[in-house]
Homo-oligomer: 307 residues x 2
Protein backbone atom coordinates (compact mmCIF):
# COMPACT_ATOMS: atom_id res chain seq x y z
CA UNK A 1 0.00 0.00 0.00
CA UNK A 2 1.27 3.48 -0.91
CA UNK A 3 2.26 5.32 2.24
CA UNK A 4 3.22 8.68 0.70
CA UNK A 5 1.71 10.99 -1.87
CA UNK A 6 2.82 14.43 -2.99
CA UNK A 7 -0.13 16.79 -3.03
CA UNK A 8 -0.29 20.19 -4.71
CA UNK A 9 -2.76 22.98 -4.19
CA UNK A 10 -3.11 25.18 -7.26
CA UNK A 11 -4.55 28.44 -5.97
CA UNK A 12 -5.59 30.91 -8.65
CA UNK A 13 -5.89 34.64 -8.60
CA UNK A 14 -9.09 36.20 -9.93
CA UNK A 15 -10.63 34.92 -13.15
CA UNK A 16 -12.32 38.05 -14.51
CA UNK A 17 -15.55 37.79 -16.45
CA UNK A 18 -13.73 39.13 -19.51
CA UNK A 19 -11.20 36.25 -19.52
CA UNK A 20 -11.71 33.72 -22.31
CA UNK A 21 -11.95 30.02 -21.36
CA UNK A 22 -8.80 29.44 -23.42
CA UNK A 23 -6.91 32.03 -21.41
CA UNK A 24 -8.06 30.56 -18.09
CA UNK A 25 -7.32 27.00 -19.16
CA UNK A 26 -3.82 28.16 -20.10
CA UNK A 27 -3.27 29.40 -16.55
CA UNK A 28 -4.47 26.09 -15.11
CA UNK A 29 -2.11 24.14 -17.37
CA UNK A 30 0.77 26.34 -16.23
CA UNK A 31 -0.09 25.68 -12.59
CA UNK A 32 -0.27 21.95 -13.26
CA UNK A 33 3.17 22.10 -14.85
CA UNK A 34 4.55 23.90 -11.82
CA UNK A 35 2.95 21.34 -9.51
CA UNK A 36 4.36 18.42 -11.52
CA UNK A 37 7.81 19.99 -11.60
CA UNK A 38 7.74 19.94 -7.79
CA UNK A 39 6.96 16.25 -7.79
CA UNK A 40 3.24 16.51 -7.16
CA UNK A 41 1.13 13.46 -8.01
CA UNK A 42 -2.28 14.97 -7.32
CA UNK A 43 -3.36 18.62 -7.53
CA UNK A 44 -6.50 20.52 -6.59
CA UNK A 45 -7.90 23.59 -8.33
CA UNK A 46 -10.51 25.98 -6.87
CA UNK A 47 -14.29 25.84 -7.01
CA UNK A 48 -15.60 27.28 -10.31
CA UNK A 49 -12.00 27.39 -11.52
CA UNK A 50 -12.94 28.04 -15.15
CA UNK A 51 -14.98 31.22 -14.66
CA UNK A 52 -15.54 34.20 -12.44
CA UNK A 53 -17.64 33.52 -9.33
CA UNK A 54 -20.79 34.50 -11.25
CA UNK A 55 -23.27 33.79 -8.38
CA UNK A 56 -22.36 37.26 -7.10
CA UNK A 57 -24.68 38.57 -9.80
CA UNK A 58 -28.41 38.14 -10.42
CA UNK A 59 -28.43 37.24 -14.09
CA UNK A 60 -31.70 36.57 -15.89
CA UNK A 61 -30.56 36.07 -19.46
CA UNK A 62 -30.41 32.31 -20.03
CA UNK A 63 -27.76 32.64 -22.75
CA UNK A 64 -25.57 34.69 -20.45
CA UNK A 65 -25.96 32.10 -17.68
CA UNK A 66 -25.21 29.23 -20.02
CA UNK A 67 -21.79 30.71 -20.82
CA UNK A 68 -20.62 29.92 -17.28
CA UNK A 69 -21.60 26.26 -17.47
CA UNK A 70 -19.86 23.20 -18.90
CA UNK A 71 -22.11 20.81 -20.81
CA UNK A 72 -19.30 18.27 -21.18
CA UNK A 73 -16.02 17.64 -19.37
CA UNK A 74 -13.59 17.68 -20.90
CA UNK A 75 -14.96 19.96 -23.60
CA UNK A 76 -13.10 21.37 -26.59
CA UNK A 77 -11.39 24.07 -24.52
CA UNK A 78 -10.98 22.32 -21.17
CA UNK A 79 -9.47 19.21 -22.80
CA UNK A 80 -6.06 20.88 -22.58
CA UNK A 81 -6.00 20.44 -18.80
CA UNK A 82 -6.78 16.73 -19.07
CA UNK A 83 -4.15 16.30 -21.75
CA UNK A 84 -1.59 18.14 -19.62
CA UNK A 85 -2.38 15.82 -16.71
CA UNK A 86 -1.81 12.79 -18.90
CA UNK A 87 1.43 14.22 -20.28
CA UNK A 88 2.69 15.20 -16.80
CA UNK A 89 1.40 12.01 -15.11
CA UNK A 90 -0.46 14.01 -12.46
CA UNK A 91 -4.03 13.67 -11.22
CA UNK A 92 -6.19 16.67 -10.43
CA UNK A 93 -9.53 17.81 -9.06
CA UNK A 94 -11.28 20.79 -10.59
CA UNK A 95 -14.39 22.75 -9.70
CA UNK A 96 -16.77 23.92 -12.42
CA UNK A 97 -20.39 24.78 -13.12
CA UNK A 98 -21.98 21.61 -14.47
CA UNK A 99 -25.02 21.56 -16.72
CA UNK A 100 -26.70 18.27 -17.57
CA UNK A 101 -29.82 17.48 -19.53
CA UNK A 102 -32.25 15.18 -17.75
CA UNK A 103 -34.91 14.39 -20.32
CA UNK A 104 -36.28 17.82 -21.23
CA UNK A 105 -35.05 19.33 -17.97
CA UNK A 106 -31.80 21.25 -17.59
CA UNK A 107 -30.07 20.59 -14.26
CA UNK A 108 -27.19 22.62 -12.87
CA UNK A 109 -24.74 21.77 -10.11
CA UNK A 110 -21.67 23.26 -8.46
CA UNK A 111 -19.41 20.34 -9.21
CA UNK A 112 -15.88 19.10 -8.64
CA UNK A 113 -14.42 16.17 -10.48
CA UNK A 114 -11.41 14.00 -9.86
CA UNK A 115 -9.20 13.03 -12.78
CA UNK A 116 -6.51 10.34 -12.77
CA UNK A 117 -2.91 10.70 -13.94
CA UNK A 118 -4.05 9.16 -17.22
CA UNK A 119 -6.36 12.11 -17.85
CA UNK A 120 -9.52 10.06 -17.28
CA UNK A 121 -12.28 11.04 -14.88
CA UNK A 122 -12.35 8.96 -11.68
CA UNK A 123 -15.47 10.48 -10.18
CA UNK A 124 -17.63 13.50 -9.65
CA UNK A 125 -19.03 15.30 -6.62
CA UNK A 126 -21.87 17.84 -6.57
CA UNK A 127 -21.84 20.44 -3.77
CA UNK A 128 -24.27 19.32 -1.09
CA UNK A 129 -24.42 22.53 0.97
CA UNK A 130 -25.47 25.25 -1.46
CA UNK A 131 -25.36 28.59 0.39
CA UNK A 132 -26.99 31.95 -0.17
CA UNK A 133 -30.35 32.44 -1.79
CA UNK A 134 -32.05 32.61 -5.17
CA UNK A 135 -32.89 36.31 -4.85
CA UNK A 136 -30.74 39.26 -3.76
CA UNK A 137 -31.47 41.16 -0.52
CA UNK A 138 -30.37 44.68 0.38
CA UNK A 139 -27.48 44.75 2.86
CA UNK A 140 -26.63 41.07 2.30
CA UNK A 141 -23.55 40.04 0.32
CA UNK A 142 -24.98 38.61 -2.88
CA UNK A 143 -24.26 34.96 -2.96
CA UNK A 144 -26.92 33.68 -5.30
CA UNK A 145 -25.84 30.09 -5.56
CA UNK A 146 -29.40 28.90 -5.02
CA UNK A 147 -30.43 30.81 -8.12
CA UNK A 148 -28.08 28.74 -10.27
CA UNK A 149 -27.41 25.41 -8.58
CA UNK A 150 -29.47 22.52 -7.29
CA UNK A 151 -28.20 20.86 -4.10
CA UNK A 152 -25.88 17.97 -4.87
CA UNK A 153 -27.50 14.58 -5.33
CA UNK A 154 -24.49 12.25 -5.31
CA UNK A 155 -23.88 12.06 -1.55
CA UNK A 156 -20.26 12.15 -0.35
CA UNK A 157 -18.50 9.64 -2.59
CA UNK A 158 -14.91 8.50 -2.16
CA UNK A 159 -12.78 7.53 -5.16
CA UNK A 160 -9.75 5.32 -5.60
CA UNK A 161 -6.72 7.30 -6.72
CA UNK A 162 -3.81 4.91 -7.11
CA UNK A 163 -4.92 2.93 -4.06
CA UNK A 164 -5.57 6.07 -1.99
CA UNK A 165 -9.14 6.95 -1.07
CA UNK A 166 -9.95 10.51 -2.07
CA UNK A 167 -13.08 12.54 -1.31
CA UNK A 168 -14.12 15.95 -2.62
CA UNK A 169 -15.92 18.95 -1.15
CA UNK A 170 -16.77 22.41 -2.42
CA UNK A 171 -16.52 25.74 -0.58
CA UNK A 172 -19.41 26.04 1.90
CA UNK A 173 -19.34 22.25 2.43
CA UNK A 174 -16.15 22.78 4.45
CA UNK A 175 -17.99 24.67 7.20
CA UNK A 176 -20.23 21.69 8.06
CA UNK A 177 -18.82 18.90 10.26
CA UNK A 178 -21.07 16.37 8.51
CA UNK A 179 -19.08 16.76 5.28
CA UNK A 180 -15.87 15.44 6.82
CA UNK A 181 -17.66 12.82 8.89
CA UNK A 182 -19.53 11.41 5.90
CA UNK A 183 -16.32 11.30 3.86
CA UNK A 184 -14.50 9.63 6.77
CA UNK A 185 -17.23 7.02 7.15
CA UNK A 186 -17.05 6.39 3.42
CA UNK A 187 -13.36 5.64 3.89
CA UNK A 188 -11.63 8.86 2.76
CA UNK A 189 -7.96 9.39 3.58
CA UNK A 190 -7.52 12.58 1.57
CA UNK A 191 -10.10 15.32 0.96
CA UNK A 192 -9.68 17.89 -1.81
CA UNK A 193 -11.60 21.15 -1.47
CA UNK A 194 -12.04 24.17 -3.73
CA UNK A 195 -13.51 27.49 -2.64
CA UNK A 196 -14.38 31.12 -3.54
CA UNK A 197 -14.91 33.08 -0.31
CA UNK A 198 -15.72 36.80 -0.07
CA UNK A 199 -13.36 38.69 2.23
CA UNK A 200 -16.18 40.73 3.76
CA UNK A 201 -19.84 40.04 4.34
CA UNK A 202 -22.01 43.15 4.24
CA UNK A 203 -24.40 41.66 6.78
CA UNK A 204 -21.71 41.13 9.43
CA UNK A 205 -18.84 43.62 9.07
CA UNK A 206 -18.01 42.99 12.75
CA UNK A 207 -16.87 39.49 11.78
CA UNK A 208 -14.68 40.65 8.87
CA UNK A 209 -11.41 40.03 10.76
CA UNK A 210 -12.45 36.39 11.29
CA UNK A 211 -12.87 35.39 7.63
CA UNK A 212 -9.51 33.59 7.41
CA UNK A 213 -9.93 32.04 10.87
CA UNK A 214 -13.34 30.75 9.78
CA UNK A 215 -11.75 29.36 6.64
CA UNK A 216 -9.12 27.32 8.45
CA UNK A 217 -10.88 26.44 11.72
CA UNK A 218 -13.48 23.98 10.37
CA UNK A 219 -10.98 22.41 7.96
CA UNK A 220 -8.39 21.93 10.69
CA UNK A 221 -11.02 20.46 13.01
CA UNK A 222 -12.37 18.30 10.17
CA UNK A 223 -8.89 16.94 9.48
CA UNK A 224 -8.23 16.27 13.17
CA UNK A 225 -11.62 14.80 14.07
CA UNK A 226 -11.67 12.52 11.04
CA UNK A 227 -7.91 11.82 10.73
CA UNK A 228 -7.81 13.09 7.15
CA UNK A 229 -5.30 14.92 4.99
CA UNK A 230 -6.99 17.97 3.44
CA UNK A 231 -5.82 20.07 0.49
CA UNK A 232 -7.85 23.21 -0.16
CA UNK A 233 -7.53 25.63 -3.10
CA UNK A 234 -8.90 29.17 -3.11
CA UNK A 235 -9.74 31.43 -5.99
CA UNK A 236 -8.27 34.56 -4.43
CA UNK A 237 -7.83 38.28 -4.93
CA UNK A 238 -10.16 40.95 -6.26
CA UNK A 239 -12.35 39.38 -8.90
CA UNK A 240 -14.70 41.65 -10.83
CA UNK A 241 -14.71 44.10 -7.92
CA UNK A 242 -15.21 41.54 -5.13
CA UNK A 243 -12.35 40.68 -2.77
CA UNK A 244 -11.91 36.92 -2.21
CA UNK A 245 -9.73 35.45 0.56
CA UNK A 246 -6.79 33.18 -0.22
CA UNK A 247 -5.33 31.00 2.50
CA UNK A 248 -5.09 27.87 0.36
CA UNK A 249 -3.55 25.13 2.45
CA UNK A 250 -2.65 21.52 3.10
CA UNK A 251 -3.74 20.25 6.51
CA UNK A 252 -2.44 17.17 8.33
CA UNK A 253 -4.60 14.64 10.22
CA UNK A 254 -3.26 16.33 13.35
CA UNK A 255 -5.13 19.48 12.28
CA UNK A 256 -1.85 21.30 11.65
CA UNK A 257 -1.36 23.58 8.66
CA UNK A 258 1.40 21.75 6.79
CA UNK A 259 1.54 24.22 3.88
CA UNK A 260 -0.02 27.61 3.31
CA UNK A 261 -0.29 29.91 0.29
CA UNK A 262 1.07 33.38 0.99
CA UNK A 263 -0.30 35.33 -1.98
CA UNK A 264 -3.65 36.21 -3.50
CA UNK A 265 -2.54 35.16 -6.97
CA UNK A 266 -1.75 32.05 -8.97
CA UNK A 267 0.38 30.00 -6.57
CA UNK A 268 1.31 26.36 -6.09
CA UNK A 269 1.98 24.85 -2.68
CA UNK A 270 3.18 21.29 -2.26
CA UNK A 271 3.49 18.82 0.59
CA UNK A 272 4.56 15.19 0.61
CA UNK A 273 1.91 13.64 2.80
CA UNK A 274 2.51 10.66 5.04
CA UNK A 275 -0.59 8.46 5.08
CA UNK A 276 0.81 6.62 8.09
CA UNK A 277 0.03 9.67 10.21
CA UNK A 278 -3.64 8.76 9.80
CA UNK A 279 -3.05 5.52 11.69
CA UNK A 280 -1.12 7.28 14.46
CA UNK A 281 -4.01 9.75 14.94
CA UNK A 282 -6.60 6.95 14.94
CA UNK A 283 -4.68 5.06 17.60
CA UNK A 284 -4.49 8.04 19.93
CA UNK A 285 -8.08 9.26 20.12
CA UNK A 286 -10.07 8.19 17.14
CA UNK A 287 -10.68 4.48 16.95
CA UNK A 288 -14.03 5.23 15.36
CA UNK A 289 -15.40 1.72 15.46
CA UNK A 290 -14.73 1.47 19.18
CA UNK A 291 -15.66 4.92 20.42
CA UNK A 292 -18.31 6.46 18.17
CA UNK A 293 -21.92 5.96 19.32
CA UNK A 294 -24.10 6.11 16.17
CA UNK A 295 -27.15 5.03 18.20
CA UNK A 296 -26.85 8.35 20.07
CA UNK A 297 -26.67 10.54 16.94
CA UNK A 298 -30.09 9.93 15.39
CA UNK A 299 -31.16 13.56 15.40
CA UNK A 300 -28.25 14.55 13.15
CA UNK A 301 -29.81 12.63 10.28
CA UNK A 302 -33.38 13.54 11.22
CA UNK A 303 -33.68 17.20 12.13
CA UNK A 304 -32.28 20.12 10.13
CA UNK A 305 -32.13 22.67 12.92
CA UNK A 306 -32.88 23.30 16.60
CA UNK A 307 -36.57 23.31 17.57
Amino acid sequence: MTRHLTLAVCQTGPVPRTASRTETVGRLVQLLERAASQGAQLAVFPELALTTFFPRWAIDDEREIAEFFETEMPGPQTRLVYQAAQRLRIGFAIGYAEQVRDGTRVRRFNTMELVGADGRMLGRYRKVHVPGSAAAFAGVTTHLERRYFEPGDLGFPVFNFDGIRVGLAVCNDRRWPETYRMLCLNGAQVVLIGYNTPAVLEEAPELAHLRMFHNHLPMQAGAYQNTLWIAAAAKAGTEDGQALIGGSCIIAPTGELAALATSLGDEVIVHRIDLGLIDVCRRVNFDFGLYRRPDQYGLIAERAGPP
Copy 2:
Protein backbone atom coordinates in the same frame (compact mmCIF):
# COMPACT_ATOMS: atom_id res chain seq x y z
CA MET B 1 -35.50 37.09 26.98
CA THR B 2 -32.14 37.32 28.77
CA ARG B 3 -29.45 38.45 26.33
CA HIS B 4 -26.43 38.37 28.67
CA LEU B 5 -25.07 35.95 31.23
CA THR B 6 -21.85 36.08 33.19
CA LEU B 7 -20.10 32.72 33.00
CA ALA B 8 -17.25 31.51 35.20
CA VAL B 9 -14.88 28.63 34.66
CA CYS B 10 -13.52 27.24 37.92
CA GLN B 11 -10.35 25.40 36.97
CA THR B 12 -8.80 23.39 39.76
CA GLY B 13 -5.25 22.31 40.34
CA PRO B 14 -4.63 18.65 41.16
CA VAL B 15 -6.84 16.84 43.68
CA PRO B 16 -4.45 14.29 45.17
CA ARG B 17 -5.69 10.91 46.26
CA THR B 18 -4.79 11.80 49.85
CA ALA B 19 -7.11 14.84 49.89
CA SER B 20 -10.26 14.39 51.97
CA ARG B 21 -13.64 15.14 50.33
CA THR B 22 -14.09 17.92 52.89
CA GLU B 23 -10.82 19.54 51.87
CA THR B 24 -11.70 19.36 48.17
CA VAL B 25 -15.23 20.64 48.69
CA GLY B 26 -13.72 23.58 50.61
CA ARG B 27 -11.63 24.49 47.56
CA LEU B 28 -14.67 24.32 45.30
CA VAL B 29 -16.65 26.59 47.63
CA GLN B 30 -13.78 29.10 47.59
CA LEU B 31 -13.74 29.06 43.80
CA LEU B 32 -17.51 29.57 43.70
CA GLU B 33 -17.13 32.56 46.04
CA ARG B 34 -14.46 34.04 43.78
CA ALA B 35 -16.68 33.51 40.73
CA ALA B 36 -19.69 35.10 42.43
CA SER B 37 -17.60 38.08 43.58
CA GLN B 38 -16.80 38.71 39.90
CA GLY B 39 -20.48 38.77 39.06
CA ALA B 40 -20.72 35.25 37.65
CA GLN B 41 -24.22 33.75 37.44
CA LEU B 42 -23.18 30.28 36.28
CA ALA B 43 -19.91 28.40 36.92
CA VAL B 44 -18.44 25.15 35.65
CA PHE B 45 -16.13 22.80 37.58
CA PRO B 46 -13.96 20.05 36.03
CA GLU B 47 -14.79 16.44 35.27
CA LEU B 48 -14.39 14.27 38.41
CA ALA B 49 -13.93 17.46 40.39
CA LEU B 50 -14.28 15.75 43.80
CA THR B 51 -11.48 13.21 43.44
CA THR B 52 -8.21 12.43 41.74
CA PHE B 53 -8.52 11.12 38.18
CA PHE B 54 -8.58 7.55 39.47
CA PRO B 55 -9.02 5.85 36.03
CA ARG B 56 -5.26 6.22 35.69
CA TRP B 57 -5.02 3.19 37.97
CA ALA B 58 -6.21 -0.39 37.65
CA ILE B 59 -7.92 -0.89 40.98
CA ASP B 60 -9.54 -4.20 41.85
CA ASP B 61 -10.62 -3.65 45.44
CA GLU B 62 -14.32 -2.79 45.30
CA ARG B 63 -14.18 -0.83 48.56
CA GLU B 64 -11.30 1.25 47.24
CA ILE B 65 -13.22 1.93 44.03
CA ALA B 66 -16.38 2.85 45.91
CA GLU B 67 -14.55 5.66 47.70
CA PHE B 68 -14.29 7.59 44.44
CA PHE B 69 -18.03 7.41 43.73
CA GLU B 70 -20.97 9.47 44.93
CA THR B 71 -24.09 7.51 45.78
CA GLU B 72 -26.13 10.68 46.30
CA MET B 73 -25.75 14.29 45.19
CA PRO B 74 -25.63 16.32 47.21
CA GLY B 75 -24.29 14.01 49.91
CA PRO B 76 -23.31 14.96 53.46
CA GLN B 77 -19.94 16.39 52.35
CA THR B 78 -20.81 17.78 48.91
CA ARG B 79 -23.89 19.61 50.25
CA LEU B 80 -21.65 22.57 51.12
CA VAL B 81 -21.20 23.41 47.42
CA TYR B 82 -24.96 23.41 46.82
CA GLN B 83 -25.51 25.53 49.91
CA ALA B 84 -22.82 27.98 48.79
CA ALA B 85 -24.53 28.26 45.39
CA GLN B 86 -27.82 29.08 47.05
CA ARG B 87 -26.20 31.62 49.37
CA LEU B 88 -24.25 33.24 46.51
CA ARG B 89 -27.14 33.02 44.00
CA ILE B 90 -24.96 31.28 41.42
CA GLY B 91 -25.62 28.16 39.38
CA PHE B 92 -22.94 25.57 38.68
CA ALA B 93 -22.10 22.36 36.81
CA ILE B 94 -19.90 19.76 38.46
CA GLY B 95 -18.37 16.52 37.27
CA TYR B 96 -18.27 13.49 39.54
CA ALA B 97 -18.24 9.69 39.54
CA GLU B 98 -21.87 8.61 39.89
CA GLN B 99 -22.95 5.29 41.37
CA VAL B 100 -26.59 4.24 41.19
CA ARG B 101 -28.34 1.07 42.21
CA ASP B 102 -30.57 -0.43 39.53
CA GLY B 103 -32.34 -3.30 41.28
CA THR B 104 -29.49 -5.51 42.44
CA ARG B 105 -27.11 -4.05 39.87
CA VAL B 106 -24.60 -1.29 40.60
CA ARG B 107 -24.20 1.13 37.68
CA ARG B 108 -21.44 3.69 37.38
CA PHE B 109 -21.20 6.73 35.13
CA ASN B 110 -18.88 9.67 34.52
CA THR B 111 -21.45 12.34 35.23
CA MET B 112 -21.90 16.08 35.24
CA GLU B 113 -24.85 17.78 36.78
CA LEU B 114 -26.28 21.25 36.46
CA VAL B 115 -27.48 23.03 39.59
CA GLY B 116 -29.57 26.21 39.68
CA ALA B 117 -28.87 29.37 41.67
CA ASP B 118 -31.31 28.02 44.27
CA GLY B 119 -29.01 25.04 44.91
CA ARG B 120 -31.39 22.56 43.26
CA MET B 121 -30.40 20.14 40.53
CA LEU B 122 -31.67 21.12 37.06
CA GLY B 123 -30.43 18.07 35.21
CA ARG B 124 -27.81 15.43 34.76
CA TYR B 125 -25.62 14.25 31.88
CA ARG B 126 -23.67 11.00 31.65
CA LYS B 127 -20.53 10.97 29.47
CA VAL B 128 -21.43 9.38 26.14
CA HIS B 129 -17.91 8.92 24.75
CA VAL B 130 -16.03 6.87 27.34
CA PRO B 131 -12.39 6.59 26.21
CA GLY B 132 -9.59 4.21 27.01
CA SER B 133 -10.06 0.57 27.89
CA ALA B 134 -10.95 -1.72 30.78
CA ALA B 135 -7.47 -3.28 30.97
CA ALA B 136 -4.03 -1.65 30.95
CA PHE B 137 -1.60 -2.18 28.05
CA ALA B 138 2.17 -1.71 28.10
CA GLY B 139 3.28 1.51 26.38
CA VAL B 140 -0.19 3.00 26.42
CA THR B 141 -1.10 5.81 28.82
CA THR B 142 -3.46 4.17 31.28
CA HIS B 143 -6.86 5.64 30.84
CA LEU B 144 -9.07 2.95 32.25
CA GLU B 145 -12.39 4.71 32.08
CA ARG B 146 -14.00 1.66 30.53
CA ARG B 147 -13.09 -0.31 33.62
CA TYR B 148 -15.14 1.98 35.82
CA PHE B 149 -17.82 3.66 33.73
CA GLU B 150 -20.67 2.55 31.50
CA PRO B 151 -21.31 4.71 28.43
CA GLY B 152 -23.86 7.44 29.16
CA ASP B 153 -27.50 6.54 28.62
CA LEU B 154 -29.19 9.93 28.84
CA GLY B 155 -28.42 11.27 25.36
CA PHE B 156 -27.42 14.92 25.02
CA PRO B 157 -30.03 16.74 27.10
CA VAL B 158 -30.40 20.50 27.28
CA PHE B 159 -31.64 22.21 30.46
CA ASN B 160 -33.34 25.51 31.14
CA PHE B 161 -31.16 27.79 33.26
CA ASP B 162 -33.06 31.02 33.86
CA GLY B 163 -34.43 30.96 30.34
CA ILE B 164 -31.08 30.02 28.79
CA ARG B 165 -30.66 26.58 27.26
CA VAL B 166 -27.59 24.84 28.71
CA GLY B 167 -26.03 21.54 27.64
CA LEU B 168 -23.23 19.56 29.30
CA ALA B 169 -20.33 17.46 28.03
CA VAL B 170 -17.45 15.65 29.70
CA CYS B 171 -13.80 15.50 28.60
CA ASN B 172 -13.46 13.13 25.63
CA ASP B 173 -16.96 14.12 24.45
CA ARG B 174 -15.45 17.43 23.35
CA ARG B 175 -13.32 15.76 20.66
CA TRP B 176 -16.37 14.45 18.76
CA PRO B 177 -18.30 16.79 16.45
CA GLU B 178 -21.50 14.86 17.15
CA THR B 179 -21.53 16.09 20.76
CA TYR B 180 -21.88 19.74 19.77
CA ARG B 181 -24.25 18.98 16.91
CA MET B 182 -26.59 16.94 19.08
CA LEU B 183 -26.61 19.67 21.74
CA CYS B 184 -27.23 22.30 19.06
CA LEU B 185 -30.11 20.31 17.58
CA ASN B 186 -31.54 19.95 21.08
CA GLY B 187 -31.51 23.74 21.32
CA ALA B 188 -28.38 24.49 23.41
CA GLN B 189 -27.05 28.04 23.53
CA VAL B 190 -24.37 27.39 26.16
CA VAL B 191 -22.34 24.21 26.66
CA LEU B 192 -20.42 23.55 29.89
CA ILE B 193 -17.55 21.06 29.73
CA GLY B 194 -15.26 19.57 32.34
CA TYR B 195 -12.07 17.62 31.59
CA ASN B 196 -8.95 15.83 32.91
CA THR B 197 -6.43 15.50 30.08
CA PRO B 198 -2.94 13.96 30.35
CA ALA B 199 -0.20 16.25 29.04
CA VAL B 200 1.60 13.36 27.33
CA LEU B 201 0.44 10.11 25.80
CA GLU B 202 3.01 7.34 25.99
CA GLU B 203 1.74 5.84 22.73
CA ALA B 204 2.32 9.03 20.71
CA PRO B 205 5.11 11.17 22.17
CA GLU B 206 5.49 12.78 18.72
CA LEU B 207 2.11 14.46 19.23
CA ALA B 208 2.94 15.77 22.73
CA HIS B 209 3.34 19.38 21.57
CA LEU B 210 -0.21 19.27 20.15
CA ARG B 211 -2.07 18.43 23.36
CA MET B 212 -3.26 22.01 24.00
CA PHE B 213 -4.03 22.58 20.30
CA HIS B 214 -6.09 19.39 20.34
CA ASN B 215 -7.86 20.63 23.44
CA HIS B 216 -8.97 23.94 21.94
CA LEU B 217 -9.38 23.04 18.24
CA PRO B 218 -12.48 20.83 18.49
CA MET B 219 -14.11 23.11 21.08
CA GLN B 220 -13.49 26.21 18.97
CA ALA B 221 -14.83 24.45 15.88
CA GLY B 222 -17.77 23.08 17.89
CA ALA B 223 -18.64 26.59 19.09
CA TYR B 224 -18.31 28.05 15.58
CA GLN B 225 -20.10 25.29 13.68
CA ASN B 226 -22.99 25.19 16.15
CA THR B 227 -23.08 28.88 17.15
CA LEU B 228 -22.66 28.04 20.85
CA TRP B 229 -20.97 29.63 23.82
CA ILE B 230 -18.69 27.08 25.48
CA ALA B 231 -17.14 27.19 28.96
CA ALA B 232 -14.63 24.44 29.71
CA ALA B 233 -12.92 23.68 33.02
CA ALA B 234 -9.77 21.60 33.39
CA LYS B 235 -8.41 19.78 36.37
CA ALA B 236 -4.79 20.80 35.77
CA GLY B 237 -1.26 20.32 37.07
CA THR B 238 0.59 17.27 38.29
CA GLU B 239 -1.90 15.02 40.05
CA ASP B 240 -0.56 11.93 41.78
CA GLY B 241 2.43 11.93 39.44
CA GLN B 242 0.54 12.50 36.18
CA ALA B 243 0.73 15.87 34.41
CA LEU B 244 -2.65 17.21 33.27
CA ILE B 245 -3.06 20.12 30.85
CA GLY B 246 -4.91 23.29 31.84
CA GLY B 247 -6.13 25.68 29.17
CA SER B 248 -9.58 26.18 30.69
CA CYS B 249 -11.45 28.64 28.52
CA ILE B 250 -14.60 30.41 27.44
CA ILE B 251 -15.24 30.26 23.69
CA ALA B 252 -17.55 32.52 21.69
CA PRO B 253 -19.92 31.34 18.93
CA THR B 254 -17.35 32.84 16.55
CA GLY B 255 -14.92 30.17 17.73
CA GLU B 256 -12.73 32.80 19.40
CA LEU B 257 -11.15 32.22 22.79
CA ALA B 258 -12.86 34.91 24.88
CA ALA B 259 -11.12 33.97 28.14
CA LEU B 260 -8.25 31.63 28.97
CA ALA B 261 -6.79 30.32 32.21
CA THR B 262 -3.07 30.99 32.48
CA SER B 263 -2.12 28.71 35.38
CA LEU B 264 -2.21 25.02 36.24
CA GLY B 265 -3.81 25.68 39.61
CA ASP B 266 -7.11 26.76 41.14
CA GLU B 267 -8.16 29.68 38.94
CA VAL B 268 -11.37 31.46 38.02
CA ILE B 269 -11.93 33.05 34.62
CA VAL B 270 -15.04 35.05 33.86
CA HIS B 271 -16.71 36.41 30.74
CA ARG B 272 -19.99 38.23 30.30
CA ILE B 273 -21.43 36.44 27.30
CA ASP B 274 -23.70 38.08 24.73
CA LEU B 275 -26.30 35.59 23.60
CA GLY B 276 -27.16 37.91 20.70
CA LEU B 277 -23.89 36.87 19.06
CA ILE B 278 -25.48 33.47 18.45
CA ASP B 279 -28.07 35.09 16.18
CA VAL B 280 -25.42 37.06 14.30
CA CYS B 281 -23.45 33.85 13.64
CA ARG B 282 -26.57 31.97 12.54
CA ARG B 283 -27.44 34.72 10.08
CA VAL B 284 -24.02 34.68 8.44
CA ASN B 285 -23.45 31.01 7.69
CA PHE B 286 -25.48 28.78 9.87
CA ASP B 287 -29.18 28.98 9.24
CA PHE B 288 -29.41 25.30 10.13
CA GLY B 289 -33.01 24.77 9.08
CA LEU B 290 -32.28 26.17 5.63
CA TYR B 291 -28.85 24.75 4.87
CA ARG B 292 -28.33 21.45 6.70
CA ARG B 293 -29.17 18.30 4.69
CA PRO B 294 -30.13 15.62 7.24
CA ASP B 295 -31.24 13.30 4.42
CA GLN B 296 -27.59 13.21 3.30
CA TYR B 297 -26.17 12.32 6.74
CA GLY B 298 -27.70 8.91 7.35
CA LEU B 299 -24.40 7.08 7.76
CA ILE B 300 -23.45 9.25 10.75
CA ALA B 301 -26.20 7.62 12.78
CA GLU B 302 -25.76 4.18 11.24
CA ARG B 303 -22.08 3.26 10.99
CA ALA B 304 -19.49 3.60 13.76
CA GLY B 305 -16.39 3.71 11.58
CA PRO B 306 -15.06 3.54 8.03
CA PRO B 307 -15.47 0.18 6.26
